[in-house]
């Protein structure tokens, strides 16, 4: 399989090869790979890739899928223009 | 194999057919073999001929004494799993559900199709019914050879 042609995260264009390389360097939790590859940090906020990444981590670390720690979800679940947030803050005060 | 290909085995199909004498009158053949949560066949039959029962996962059972072959259950079944079959005047008659456009026309010759989707002969369109209450599922009356009584399941238009 050409791992560099398998896209895991469409928003940030991260491939299976990049993820596996990251594992080989010792980063094997979702939070770690997220910080290095930006995987799951695009507009869809990991709705597409999270299960794929969890599955790869499970395979690599040889744990059952339900033992793999899921990534931390922070507000906001989709892109919001900063201007909109600023405007709201102004209107509220 | 129903489980791997979607085609029921002959033996399984035969469990849903009454004998040829009973088939002198039109009867409903319910090809619904698997327990799924569903019962519109039971609730739509005006003659209480189909029983699913309290547990709606039970596959339907037809009481051939009560079934008049009216075909109401045919277009009410969301699985399109019911046909009405009859042996009469050296021909096999069927009522089948149909959801494709354009609709076939009365008198048209069409392919007779078996459960594997293969052409097994010819059939003739006898009647096309599509009333408002049928909610877009047409009921088509079609005739074909008697030998196809256990094989025929639907039609395909010749192009």
């Amino acid at each position: 399989m050409k791992k560099e042609d398998v896209i895991l995260c469409r928003c940030e264009d991260v491939t299976l090869k990049q993820l596996h390389d990251c594992f080989d360097e010792g980063y094997t939790t979702f939070e770690e790979v997220k910080r290095i590859l930006r995987i799951g940090m695009g507009p869809c906020q990991a709705s597409t890739c999270s299960l794929l990444v969890q599955r790869e981590i499970a395979k690599y670390t040889k744990q059952p899928l339900d033992k793999v720690k899921t990534h931390v979800i922070r507000p906001l679940i989709t892109g919001v223009p900063l201007g909109s947030i600023a405007k709201e803050a102004k209107d509220e005060s | 194999m129903l489980k791997t290909t979607g085609v029921p085995d002959k033996a399984l199909i035969l469990t849903r057919f009454p004998d040829d004498v009973i088939l002198g009158k039109p009867k409903a053949i319910t090809e619904c073999y698997e327990p799924i949560p569903c019962n519109p066949c039971e609730t739509s039959c005006p003659f209480e001929a189909i029983t699913v029962g309290e547990d709606i996962n039970t596959p339907p059972k037809v009481d051939f004494d009560k079934c008049t072959g009216c075909g109401i259950c045919v277009y009410n079944c969301p699985g399109l799993a019911i046909i009405v079959a009859q042996l009469k005047n050296d021909k096999a008659y069927f009522k089948i559900p149909y959801e494709f456009i354009p609709m076939p026309e009365v008198g048209e010759t069409v392919h007779a199709i078996n459960r594997a989707g293969e052409i097994i002969g010819e059939a003739k369109i006898e009647k096309v019914t599509l009333r408002k209450k049928q909610d877009k599922t047409a009921l088509i009356d079609v005739s074909t050879n008697t030998e196809l009584i256990h094989e025929f399941v639907t039609i395909r238009r010749m192009r």
């Binding site: 709705s47 794929l52 979800i73 679940i77 919001v80 | 129903l2 791997t4 979607g6 989707g117």
Partner: protein, 364 residues
Amino acid sequence: MKHVDLLIIGGGPSGLAAAKMAAESGVSSLIIERDTKVGGQLVKQTHMFFGSEKQYAKTRGINIAEILINDCKEHDDKISYMTETTVVGLYPDYVVTVMDRNHKYSKIKANTILVATGASEKVLAFENNDLPGIYGAGAVQTLMNVHGVLPGQDVVMVGSGNIGLIVSYQLMQAGVNVKRVIEAASVIGGYKVHASKLKRLGVEITTNMTVKSAQGNGALESIVVQKLDDDWQFIPGTEEEISVDALCISVGLSPLSNLLSMVGCEMKYVSALGGNVPVIDHSHETTVPNIFVAGDVCGVEEASSAIVEGYYVGLIIGNRLGKTHPHYERLIQDFTQQLDNLRSGPFGEKTRSGLAQLRGEQHA
């Protein structure tokens, strides 16, 4: 800041059903829906539904949506809507942040919150899986049944669950040639009545097979499929190339539960329920008090059960807010029974074991 009694996130069947029961109990609610109109997945379902008549069996999905929407209209004084508005944040002080179609960002505070966001389609990892022409089955359904656009002429469907089978049938109805349905498991996943219906049309269904790669210059031109053994490993030498201009992926749904993780609800990965789901009690309340869930977000199932769960939770929330439905006891019992009945067969086994796992119970 706007303040409401009950805030419902998601206007699918479960959200609408909950709004109706809450309204009958005397509770006002606000439904926030990111789509242009409410109805959820139902608005693209042109096929007749299963279930019993209580859950509108044999009615087409799109017409069930109509029924639920009209029911809500009868409570116009109690139910209000914000469509084309996405909930982007959910906070422990019961504040949600929303963004509307004009990118206007605002906050709403609620006494109780029902998260009914449904589920999203799972994706598959294979070579060149980002080529144009590769779609999720739900996306194809939206394209075809809502917008009247065909995804292509020659299609292969990956996945033989109900959605894969139903969408294949609808593709054939639209005049698209479904070349094959492939399934990685050794048996067909969905109802056999749907499989038989497709087979009659001449569509091949092949089990123990998956897609290995996609090829094409700028857009999809062909795929390579390969047989799998019972441990889901590729069997060498069984590759087969199929020319297609569209590939439809239907390998399941996973609960859209990210708002719940965000607010700190305890979550659990339960594969029988589709992925990360909130830990709930029998009243469908999460571990964060006054935040409730209903429908696919707490376990991927069917519209029939999503509707009944919605009704059930609507009653509970009414009661919680001190407004008890006049027929509370009877209805709770009725809905509980309906859910049990829907889930009692072999297809409900997954849900039953998943729920038991979620609630930390032993499952027989």
